[in-house]
Amino acid sequence: MAPHSVRGIWTALRYRGREGMWSWILHRATGLGILAFLIVHVLDTAVVIYWPDFYDHTLDLYRTPFFRVAELLIFFAVLYHAVNGLRIVVQDFWPAVMRHQRQLVWAVAGIVGVAMLPIAWIMLAPMLGLAEEPGGERHRARAGTRVEAPAAAPRARPSAPPAPAVVPPLPEARP
């Protein structure tokens, strides 16, 4: 096993497969990464039914900076695997485009790279205080419909501290 593996890595590093090789490596790496995440994700999400308190507890973990960056990496992995997979399907069923396979690899990189800019902004900027959390407006609108407050009345943001309770002053002297 060991000599095989070592030779495989050295061969891979020396091999100059250019665009086709790197897109193949990235497709395989993202695919295996997504599968590993998917197994954990499915086990974790099913506890919504059986142990919802534990699910809410894990969500606190997913809101930490480490997991937010990890979530962005998962988004990248799925997006790259999807667009590169589409390239593979197009090349398989339309062999004429194989003449331009290098340009197609760069087109995939361009599409994924450009799409990742706004996605990274939406997912990471709130952590740095540069933008609001995604879905904030939707969340407030839904919270408003649940409370059934009058539509015209201004509503406090959920994150705002609650108004101090008005304590009626005690009568100074009793009869």
């Binding site: 395989r28 997504i34 999400t45 919802p52 699910y55 979530e71 999807a82 399907v89 939406i122």
Partner: protein, 142 residues
């Protein structure tokens, strides 16, 4: 590569070519399955990611929100389909990788058995949870 059984010379052309002269058989169906499930997953998985990460947002996610979504049987069936396509597509990709890197027949069989067990158990768990979910049962009693 002569030691690698399974897909044989079909992988020589970079791994994605259709086996020359192949007619039917498991590997041809596997090849078609990867493309058909892949096309479905492009839309289903990207929709799933955009919805929960960009439209709902992890900050507003909660067990109650997921349970509310799952009161609609369409979304439970959507998730069954997404989990099934993704797990089987991923398992077949993992099988490709095992056949590429694990050369000894005994080790290859052992690694495959572990991989199939883990992935299919996770898929069974997901499908069972989604299909037996009863929105009428309140959260506290669940």
């Amino acid at each position: 590569m002569s030691g690698a059984k399974g897909r044989g010379p079909a992988r020589a052309g970079g791994g994605y070519g259709r086996p020359a002269g192949a007619r039917g058989g498991f590997e041809t169906y596997s090849w078609f399955f990867m493309r058909i499930s892949g096309l479905f997953l492009i839309f289903m998985a990207l929709y799933h990611l955009v919805w929960w990460n960009l439209i709902v947002g992890v900050e507003h996610l909660s067990a109650d929100l997921v349970r509310e979504r799952w009161t609609n049987p369409f979304w439970r069936l959507f998730n069954v389909g997404l989990a099934t396509f993704a797990m089987l597509h991923g398992l077949n990709g993992l099988r490709y990788s095992i056949e590429d890197y694990v050369r000894r027949p005994g080790a290859r069989l052992a690694v495959k058995m572990v991989a199939y067990t883990v992935v299919l158990a996770a898929l069974a768990w997901a499908v069972f949870a989604l299909l037996t979910f009863d929105p009428a049962v309140p959260r506290a009693a669940a």
